[in-house]
């Protein structure tokens, strides 16, 4: 494999795609440091395959990020659970009430890997079901079922005592 010299089009890609890719990696891993590592590796792999990846570099890099996150989950599952990682649940500053929004993220981080990935890709990246299936290299049916299971599990995790943010806003 001969590695090519990178041109300005690669720089443009890095400039435009790094922030969204890093944010996706952060939501997939729950850790800023790991997200940075994933992003850097994904950009390097994209650079290595630039001749073919340049047709749709962000899609290529997103797929690498998702695969790396999956590898990381698999490795972590063999080891004791790390504590103190990930965003903490928060409170609505004005009302003192726990908002659904603040309860959701820690709950998302407790979902199984596949379920978390479909939620991040569909509701953060705004990918279609088909695009999500392509990134995760699975069928459309799997994405649909994973999404359904993820939302059901989320409801169980957050319980009944939190309100949608809009209802709290209406109450005040």
């Amino acid at each position: 494999m001969t590695l090519e010299r990178l041109g300005p089009d690669f720089d443009d890609f890095v400039r435009e795609a790094s922030t969204p890719l890093l944010r996706t990696a952060y939501l997939l891993t729950g850790d800023h440091g790991h997200a940075e590592d994933l992003l850097q590796t994904a950009l390097l792999r994209t650079a290595r395959r630039w001749r073919t990846a340049s047709a749709s570099p962000e899609a290529y890099a997103r797929r690498v990020v998702a695969n790396l996150a999956k590898d990381r989950w698999r490795d972590r599952s063999r080891r004791p659970v790390e504590t103190g990682k990930g965003p903490e649940p928060g409170h609505d500053g004005s009302t003192g009430q726990v908002t659904l929004r603040h309860t959701l993220l820690p709950a998302v981080l407790r979902l199984p890997t596949g379920q978390r990935a479909v939620l991040v890709l569909r509701y953060f990246e705004d990918l279609t079901i088909e695009e999500t299936a392509a990134v995760l290299d699975c069928s459309v049916g799997t994405v649909k079922s994973q999404t359904h299971r993820a939302l059901t599990r989320l409801r169980q995790l957050i319980g009944d005592d939190v309100l949608p943010t809009k209802e709290i806003d209406h109450a005040h």
Partner: protein, 207 residues
């Protein structure tokens, strides 16, 4: 009861809130360029190195039954085959196997994921993950983006074919090279006296 619409709307808000302040480090682009340039240099060196390595490998091939046995240089990034014939005339083909590296980590220590490796992190350099065991005080360096050097030679770990090795007398270390599933190479550098047996446990064939 929350509807799916409520829940997904809140998810979008939560994801947006959580990532609003997440920005890449300013030097990211430069770091990627630097690492890519280093990989290009190694790649160029490898194109020269591989025929030399192939010649070395050819040196152990024995002509069997009067027919000649050729050894084809292994192209970087593609699976290669090294064919050898023993003096008895029996013939075996050893395919280059890709491996997932799994370095044992200490359960009581902080741990991290390094591509396909699980290990204890000491520090992270530009191109190298430094890892160390805890109780056995073993220190090793894993370069998951290594190149096969010219003087690496095929080594024979029991049950782990397709590896290459190189010893550095100056640092009393040895490096074991294995192919990654994506066709690139990983190098694991350990003390020169580390036994083959302890190292062979790190490699899991991926194909």
């Amino acid at each position: 009861m929350l509807t799916d619409e409520d829940l997904t709307s809140e998810l979008k808000l939560a994801f947006g809130d959580a990532t609003r302040d997440i920005e890449p480090s300013p030097g990211l682009g430069a770091t990627v360029h630097r690492r890519h340039r280093a990989a290009r240099r190694r790649s160029t060196a490898l194109q020269v190195a591989v025929p030399v390595a192939a010649l070395c490998a050819g040196g152990v091939a024995v002509v069997a039954g009067g027919s000649s046995t050729s050894s084809t240089p292994a192209p970087h990034g593609a699976a290669s085959h090294l064919t050898t014939s023993g003096p008895s005339g029996s013939r075996s083909t050893i395919a280059t196997v890709a491996y997932l590296l799994t370095v044992p980590s200490d359960g009581g220590a902080a741990s991290f994921a390094c591509l396909n490796s699980a290990a204890v992190q000491v520090s992270l350099g530009d191109e190298t993950w430094y890892v160390a065991g805890v109780h056995d005080c073993k220190t090793m360096v894993i370069d998951s983006d290594a190149s096969l050097p010219a003087d690496a030679h095929p080594i024979d770990f029991p049950g782990v074919p397709g590896l290459y090795g190189r010893t550095d007398p100056e640092t009393s270390s040895r490096t074991i090279y294995s192919r990654n599933p994506d066709g690139s190479w990983s190098g694991v550098t350990v003390a020169a006296d580390t036994s083959d047996e302890s190292l062979s446990g790190y490699y899991t064939p991926s194909n």
